[in-house]
């Protein structure tokens, strides 16, 4: 077995600050790639900002905001191939947009409508995991199962800093290490689990340090730097495909929005720190980088925003056009072969509702 080095401590960065820190570049990314990454960031940002508005308008339910997490999502997915599997948590609810899933599907999910169901095989995107870290073993199992079949597919599991305290994270990471499963464990460390700071989650210096215990490489990356995220994920995926097993990536960022629309962070978070962090949000940093390279014009940036806004207008219109779900759906889909009692329950419910029987 390859010797596993201590996890990296320094944050990997590519994007400079336009001042003393120079810009780097990622080998192999064309101008077209750089602009496509920008399009992805804008798409995710627009989805998130519109969703907060839709929530306030009562058009979707409680929503988990991911503002300033877009670079981690876009950068990592850009390093994958279409056949690779994505296991999102609720913080990555819209990540399948990057694979072409209609916005209406995800909006329907947040509207609590069955039109928010999808077949994971259509997008190679697993269902959104609502409990914390319990999808990490799924990603490990999928990656291991694909490897057993001799396929070259990888998997990536997204989870937050709080998730690293969960037993499921440990069991999934350990399984993946033992099975040398082609898996990327992607931790978006936004430093807050609702009101609990990362210092109250672990006594470890860094979350990437945990990788050492699983016998896998651990790296740290600036989570607001889409190019550094891309590069680190590409390296992890390349290693995984070559049979090198899993990698843990700790991407460091800061949660500048509430945990979700139902949360009021004023009770626990320093608003001044939030304002400072907002000045370095990931989309603005990337746009400044592209402008320094002369790759992004005002017109091009506007065109991308218009496209994303239109996609959201269409998405919410389609989601709202979904007819109310039939109560019969309550009894469907849990079993391929349901117990007979469910049919009796449905008949009874229809009788009471006065609806025509199916």
């Amino acid at each position: 077995m390859a010797q596993v080095l201590p996890a990296e401590r320094d944050l990997r960065r590519v994007i400079g600050d336009g001042d003393g820190v120079p810009d780097g570049e990622v080998e192999g990314l064309s101008e077209q790639d750089l602009l496509e990454l920008h399009r992805w960031l804008v798409l995710l940002r627009t989805y998130d900002e519109r969703s907060v508005v839709y929530h306030r308008q009562g058009r979707i339910g409680t929503y988990a905001i991911y503002w300033n997490h877009e670079a981690m999502q876009a950068g990592s997915v850009y390093a994958l191939e279409r056949e690779d599997w994505i296991f999102p948590s609720y913080r990555e609810s819209a990540i399948a947009l990057l694979r072409g899933m209609p916005a209406s599907t995800i909006l329907s999910w947040w509207r609590g409508h069955p039109a928010g169901w999808w077949d994971p095989r259509d997008w190679n995107v697993a269902s959104i995991c609502v409990p914390i870290a319990t999808h990490v073993p799924h990603a490990a199992g999928l990656a291991w199962g694909k490897k057993l079949r001799g396929e070259r597919t990888c998997a990536i599991a997204y989870f937050g800093d709080g998730a690293t305290s969960e037993g499921s994270f440990h069991e999934g990471a350990n399984f993946a290490g033992v099975m040398r499963a082609p898996l990327v464990l992607f931790c978006n460390n936004n430093q807050w689990a609702i009101s609990t700071p990362v210092s109250a989650q672990t006594a470890a210096d860094t979350l990437a340090d945990k990788a050492v215990g699983y016998g896998i490489p651990g790296v740290r990356v600036d989570g607001g730097d889409v190019l550094a995220v891309y590069e680190a994920t590409r390296e992890a995926v390349t290693r995984a495909r070559a049979g090198g097993g899993p990698t843990m990536i700790e991407a460091l960022t800061y949660r500048v929005a509430p945990h979700a629309t139902a949360d009021d962070p004023s009770a626990y978070i320093d608003p001044q720190r939030v304002e400072e962090e907002k000045q370095h949000e990931c989309l603005g940093r990337y746009e400044a980088y592209l402008r320094r390279l002369g790759l992004l014009s005002d017109e091009a940036a506007e065109a991308v925003r218009v496209e994303a806004a239109e996609l959201m207008r269409t998405g919410i219109a389609e989601a709202e056009a979904e007819p109310p779900p039939d109560p019969g759906l309550v009894f469907e889909n849990a079993y391929a072969d349901p117990p007979p009692s469910l049919a009796a329950d449905l008949a009874d419910l229809r009788r009471i509702l006065g609806a025509p029987s199916a």
Partner: protein, 335 residues
Amino acid sequence: MHWSTNTGVGLVAELTLVEAINDAFHVELGRDANVMVMGEDVGRAGGVFRATAGLLDRFGPERCVDTPLAEAGILGSAVGLCMAGWRPVCEMQYDAFSYPCLDQLITHVGRYRWRTGGAMEFPLVVRMPYGGGVRAPELHDDSPEAYYVHTPGVKVAIPSTPSDAKGLLAAAIRDPDPVVVLEPKLHYRTMRGEVPEGEHVVPLGQARVAREGSDVTLVAYGAMVPLAEQAAEELEGEASAEVLDIRTLKPLDEDALLASAAKTGRVVIVQEAPRTAGYGAELAAILAEKAMLDLQGPVLRVTGYDVPYPYWQLEDAYMPSVERVVDAVRKLLEF
């Protein structure tokens, strides 16, 4: 093992209950290359009860996998294996060691198909030895079926004979839905019976009349079935007791339960697990809802008590016994 012909129907073998389970594995892994077995000590050791003996040698380490000691990791990665097209059979080494896997079972295994609008199937099996009476240390004796039965999206079967142990496991492996199979470890090696050779499937959802009777029905499953049969023998000359082996707790063969209740008019439910909110309460509720006018007296339960399973020098006092079942039947006859 001794092979003989079964009155011309096919070959049968005289097997212990755990040998029958092992036989089911050999047949089902041989039949379907997507079936794999995973768990703690299932490979090199062949399982602590040897239920998976010989599978590693015959099918290789990719289809008979010694896993890390992590029940949630076993079941959680089995969910992912299903997504990759496998049909994993997960062994939980003991009843009470299965509790860490309940997180995965409740939050994902029973929900994932539903969550995909019925698009994806999760044809996995969780199997484990369960139950007491084996003079074992703490937490090797539990009857956890109620936790599993209560979880939507999951089916549950408990065999009581070697033949059913093979046939129900085969049905579970072939089923498109997640199935939990609890195996009465008390009878793993103490019970022998005729088991059909080769493919043998006992469909889920069908109860079995283990013994015909006309005055009272003893409803049981797993290790309580032979106990109920002994009680029925004890009652001979006093009352004619029918023994109904539920076999599949979910989906329940309600017709068989109601038919037997209608036939005898009296029901005693025998359950090893603690009484409160146990599976027997569900059976009693169904009888109250649907068999009221067939019954000549109250539905009685003989169960474990609402206490932690005792240390083994006390376990005989905890376990339902022939005496307790006979006592319940006498009370009911006098009602």
